[in-house]
């Protein structure tokens, strides 16, 4: 009985040791990040009526997931033949980034994944002139400045890569779903900070971030290598088959 127990214990140790030897250890740097968006100022250079400034901070919870807070300011002016519109205010988005890269690929330097955000926007919007024409003639009116609050959610896939030590850049596509734009069903905001076209239930945008990374902890991540498929010896199977 004693001998059987010793054999059994040895077998467990052997299995444990062999599985440990099949694992890789990755020293993964968890980081704090602070970034600024250069897409907004870039667009402003070509369109002086649309200023969007935003930045973010994020905190790695693990090698796969980071908490994110983004904040920004927007000043939007738009005119066309039948109305003049302005909207300005601040917004914030809170959520998480999920890294889809394996730790041994990512190494804390590369990120390709998806972000999920809840956004809230506080803004003033004003339609200083609008014109409506029909059979009876033309009517010109205006809508005074009004404070409003908008809510939305975002799915944000993207990539980031380290270009210098602790500095990275990358882009994020923002797929946004409007929860509420403020203003009721008749006077939805034409455009509002953080979301964009308030007349649409869904919108898309892009951010291009320059990021400063601050490593705060090294985490040891044990990763299992991909199982190698054993080659099947088809010829031997065939031989066996023929033999039968």
């Amino acid at each position: 009985m004693r001998r059987i127990s010793a054999y059994f214990f040895s077998l467990i140790l052997f299995i444990g040791a062999s599985s440990l030897s099949a694992q890789d250890t990755v020293l993964f740097p968890l980081k704090l990040r602070a970034g600024i968006d250069i897409a907004g100022p870039g667009i402003y250079l070509s369109d002086k009526n649309n200023l969007n400034l935003e930045g973010y901070i994020s905190f790695d919870r693990s090698e796969k997931m980071a908490w994110v807070m983004e904040a920004g300011y927007m000043n939007f002016k738009y005119s066309q033949y039948n109305y003049d519109y302005t909207s300005k205010g601040a917004f914030t988005r809170l959520g998480a980034d999920i890294n889809l890269l394996k730790p041994e690929v990512s190494q804390g330097r590369y990120w390709a994944g998806i972000g999920l955000r809840y956004g809230i926007s506080l803004f003033n919007s004003e339609t200083s002139r609008f014109q409506h024409e029909n059979y009876w003639g033309s009517v010109t009116s205006s809508l005074p400045s009004k404070k409003a609050m908008g809510h939305f959610i975002e799915v944000a896939p993207g990539v980031k890569t380290e270009i210098f030590r602790n500095f990275s850049m990358g882009w994020t596509i923002r797929l946004k779903l409007l929860i509420s734009g403020g203003g009721g069903k008749d006077l939805r905001p034409i455009w509002f900070p953080g979301y964009g076209n308030g007349g649409r239930r869904t919108t898309a945008g892009i951010s291009y971030f320059l990021t400063w990374n601050i490593p705060y902890k090294i985490k040891t991540v044990i990763s299992k290598p991909e199982p190698v498929e054993e080659e099947t010896d088809e010829s031997s199977e065939q031989t066996t088959g023929t033999g039968l």
Binding site: L101, Q107, Y135, W136, V159, T161, L187, G199, I206
Partner: protein, 153 residues
Amino acid sequence: MKKAGFSLFALVAAGFSLLLISCAPEACFEETNAYLKATFYSNTTKEKKTPDSLTVTGVGKTDKIYDREPSVQPALLPLDASNDTSEFIIRINGIADTIQFIYSSYPHLISKECGYTFYHRLDTFNTAKEIFYIYRSSNNITTANEENIRIFF
């Protein structure tokens, strides 16, 4: 590992190129007028009936909205957003009456591309000679395809 880094760098560069592509302004393809929609019915059968000839003119206007037009069903009557009443002379198959609509107007955003329009809430209506019987279906006069009144002739 280097391959992954290079791929990501290429993706980052692709994103930057995407950023440089500017968006073209979009055109307005939506209905921008909120019409009062009047459907025609037979006074005898109470069934839907299209007039053989319809002429509609706004009181005080020289232009006609419909000029002896056949096959109009429903008629789309534009309301004056700068007033709370609009009057129309309606001639159906050669018989004419004047109908006055009393309503309130309020602005409504159609879209960024189209801008604003006025919606109306129908309060009441009157006919001068009471030749046509009018039934109210809905008070909300919007760009939606919703019947507002039925004219029995």
